[in-house]
């Protein structure tokens, strides 16, 4: 099936099998390997990208469902080599160890930025309910998200 979509602002056309998952399309066809796959059960959030501005688990979306949509992946965040405020805050706050969960954590946190009121730690943790980290114990991730929200 033919699909046409925008990925990180760039128009993309492709012929795909209906069963191709969006995450495989991004990683294997477009070589955007920043989006990770951490589970088989739609639970870990490592594959989180934005579809028309909302965080989704790209392992649980078909590429054909994204036809006509706007996709943003972790590669689309840093404008002209300048780290996105969330990326900078993750670096400063030491919010990653192995880094496997980090792209998903950042893409899931993105929905919290730009709000009038800075979310409290409980809200930040709730926003990250769908993302697992096996290294950090979450403390520094929450601190990084808070820092980025305060600055934005």
């Amino acid at each position: 099936m033919n699909i046409s979509l925008r990925v990180n602002g760039r128009p993309v056309e492709a012929v795909v099998e209906p069963r191709l998952l969006l995450v495989h399309f991004l990683r294997e066809r477009l070589r955007l390997t920043g989006t990770h796959i951490g589970c088989d059960t739609s639970q870990c959030g490592a594959c989180t990208v934005h579809l028309d501005g909302r965080a989704v688990k790209s392992c649980t979306v078909l590429a054909v469902q994204a036809d006509g949509c706007d996709i943003t992946t972790i590669e689309g965040l840093a404008a002209e080599g300048e780290l996105h405020p969330l990326q900078a805050a993750f670096q400063e706050q030491h919010a990653l160890q192995c880094g496997f969960c980090t792209p998903g954590m950042i893409m899931a946190s993105l929905e919290l930025l730009g709000r009038a009121i800075v979310p409290d730690d409980r809200e930040i943790r709730a926003a990250l309910e769908g993302n697992r980290c096996r290294c950090t114990g979450y403390q520094n991730i929450v601190a990084a998200v808070r820092t980025a929200c305060e600055r934005s």
Partner: protein, 291 residues
Amino acid sequence: MIPAAFEYAVPRSLEDAVAVLADCEAGTAAILAGGMSLLPTMKLRLAAPALLVDIGRLRELAGISRASGRLRIGALTTHAELLAAPELAEWRVFAETAGVLGDPQVRNRGTFGGSLAQAHPAADWPAVFLALRGVACLRGSRGERSVRSEDFFTGVLTTAIAEGEILTHVTFPAGDGRSGAAYSKMRQQASGMALAGVAARITLDTAGRIEESTVGVTGIGGAPFRARSIEQRLSGLLPTPSILEESCADVPEADPTNDLHADADYRRQLLRVHATRALTRALERARSAIP
């Protein structure tokens, strides 16, 4: 994990979708809404439909509206939309339930209708659908029909939706200024689904007595069900905290599952606790709804 190969159809309208389904051999096609239940099942190859009919783009099936004293929720309305819907302010139970369902990414895609159609024995919306006495509206090649919530769940993962039928929307009575509803859930730690989930609605009469209550239960075992023993005990009573608690002491219609997540006794205990909590909050809301 990669699903087995399938054909994919994107109908342009509800009529189109009904026609595509009517053309299929029984048991070969599956309707795709948000995909948050169906795609994980297909990835694990627990399901392998030959055709997916993607109704996810039919915006006519999404949204919340009000007509002749009833609220109407389109089947494709997402959990995230229900979490934030100002139209549902009179029934806080919707935002309360959406807020404890899954995670933000799942809520952004998963739909209200998909959850009811899936009829997972530990899903949250079925309890609310039962407690608010919703009516499901179905559309098939032979036209429209409606099914009351109490007749909708026919077993584990099975509903009254017939082959080829699409759930288009659900209607509920609008708030009447003397009713309140609430949902109380114990999450299963790994999956986040309900180990016990109880939705309760209370309607008060002018003297502050319980004119009517309805209690929907999920997670305990088997299909979601109405706890009618609680409803009957409460009828006509002037509610106090101890009356609410006593009314939940024993629910003979429950048939609790015994599994590695919780044994039957523990589930029975969770049912008592969460039924009491849901009723208590529903009562507070009914009282505060009275002008």
